[in-house]
Structure formats: C-alpha cells, structure tokens
C-alpha cells in the first residue's frame, strides 16, 4: 500500500541530481600533455625517416611499414589530445574561470585547431605550438585550483 503510494509519487516527482558526473571530478591536463608529446614525437620521427634506396624491395617495405605506423599513431594521439582538451574545456572550466581568464575560449579553440593541424601536416612547428598551448592550459588549470604544479615532460 505504502509502496504503491511511493511508486505513484516517485513517477511524478522531478529528479534532484546527486550525480557523479563524468569521471567523478578527476580532471588533469596531464593526459593531454602525454598524448600531445606522443604527437610531437611521431612528427619528429616521421621527419627523421630516410627513404630507402630505389630497388631495395625489403627496405622499402620496412620503410613504408614504419612510416605508416608513425602516421597512424600521430593521427590517433592527436585525436586523443583533442578529446582530452575538449573534456577540460567543456566539463571542467566554468563561467567564473572565464571571467578570470578571458582568453580561455580562444586558448582552447587554438589548441584544438593545432591538434587538427598536426594530423593534416607533418609540422614540427605546429607540434611545438600544440605543446605550448597545452602548457598554457596546464598553467591556467592548476591556477584555478590554487596549486602550483610544475610542467614536466615525459620526453627528456
């Protein structure tokens, strides 16, 4: 009886959220930094590759295989970087942050654009600029939390 009344009320009652939204409040630009570093590393490796001598079929196959893998990883990691940045941008950052950092939207927009540029091109310059953009976001992110977290790269 009571449980029927409960069900009837529960059906009509609007929701009040006590949600764990997304990854439970755990955000860290380190994930974008790591994938961004992978993009820069692959970009440099592609640029450093030396094509084999003409007529050496085995060397040519190995070269194409290595090049394809580098390109595939660069493509994948650039997309992951973009995804990580968009999560920070749309989920972590809130309007009060924008008041304090008026160029926040522009920073994220340019960083996301650089992810695309790193896919389309093999540009060491754009890979460097992507890392600079992620470093800037790292600085803003930790400043909003009142913490001084040093920017440290995995690649030496």
């Amino acid at each position: 009886m009571l449980s029927r009344l409960f069900d009837a009320l529960a059906k009509r009652a609007p929701l009040a959220h006590a949600h764990c939204d997304g990854p439970c409040g755990i955000y860290d630009p380190a994930s974008a930094r790591i994938t961004g570093e992978a993009v820069r590393s692959m970009t440099k490796k592609i640029l450093a590759l030396t094509p084999p001598a003409p007529g050496d079929a085995a060397a040519n196959a190995a070269y194409l295989n290595t090049l394809s893998r580098y390109v595939a990883i660069k493509e994948e990691q650039a997309q992951l970087t973009k995804d990580e940045l968009l999560v920070l941008w749309t989920d972590y950052f809130k309007p009060p942050h924008l008041e304090k950092y008026p160029d926040l939207h522009d920073t994220f927009w340019k960083a996301a654009k650089l992810c695309s540029a790193c896919k389309v091109e093999v540009s060491a310059q754009h890979a460097d600029e992507l890392m600079e953009a992620i470093e800037k976001i790292h600085g803003i992110f930790w400043a909003t939390k009142g913490r001084d977290v040093p920017w440290t790269l995995a690649a030496g």
């Binding site: 009320l9 009652a13 929701l15 006590a18 949600h19 764990c20 439970c24 409040g25 809130k94």
Partner: protein, 112 residues
C-alpha cells in the same frame, strides 16, 4: 517540473534522487520533500538542500550545505569523491536555493 513553472508557488516540493553522491544519506530513487526558503536567506549549515545547478542547465541538485559565506553558500556531497558540488562550481547565490529538505522517504526495499 521547471522550478520557475506553474507549481513554483507551492510551499513544498517533492523530488526523486538520482545518483549516488549523497550516499549513505540518500540513495538513488529516494524521495525528498523540501520546503521553499522563506526569503532569500542563507540555509543553515549542515542542512540538506535542493538547489539549482549553476551551470545554466536548469538541472536540480540535492546536496548538503557545507559552508556559509558573506554572499552565498557552498554545498558538498556526503560521498565527496564522487560528485559535482561547490568544489567544482564554487559558491551559490541565495537565489539558487530551491528548497530545504524536511523529509526523506527511502525507496521501499532500498534499506537492509
């Protein structure tokens, strides 16, 4: 129910809890009855409250008042590592307060 909708003048409102951030106090599916605040007064510290999510989504949240400030109040979750609350969105203005929880009806079968 839109908090600004036609039922907004009723002194009491009923909400159904979604999510687990208020465990163990509130479980998903529990009903919470809240009364509207009298004026734009700050809620008492420690009180369960129904608030409007400041993200502009119109979503309603149920939380606990964990701090009172000069101009607003902060809310937290009873399961603090799992939620969206003032650690994420900062202090709330008194106008975000939709109700003070006066009764909780646990979902039948959800306890013991």
């Amino acid at each position: 129910m839109d908090p600004r909708g036609r039922l907004s003048s009723l002194p009491f409102q009923l909400h159904r809890v979604a999510g687990e951030s208020m465990l163990p106090t509130l479980r998903p599916g529990d009903l919470v009855l809240s009364r509207r605040p009298w004026r734009r007064r700050l809620p008492p510290l420690g009180r369960l409250v129904v608030v409007r999510d400041p993200d502009g989504s119109g979503r309603v949240l149920v939380k606990r008042v964990v701090a009172l400030g000069a101009r607003g109040f902060s809310v937290g979750s009873d399961a603090p590592d799992h939620a969206r609350d003032s650690r994420r969105f900062g202090e709330l203005a008194p106008s975000a307060l939709l109700g003070l929880v006066v009764a909780v009806w646990p979902r039948p079968g959800s306890r013991g």
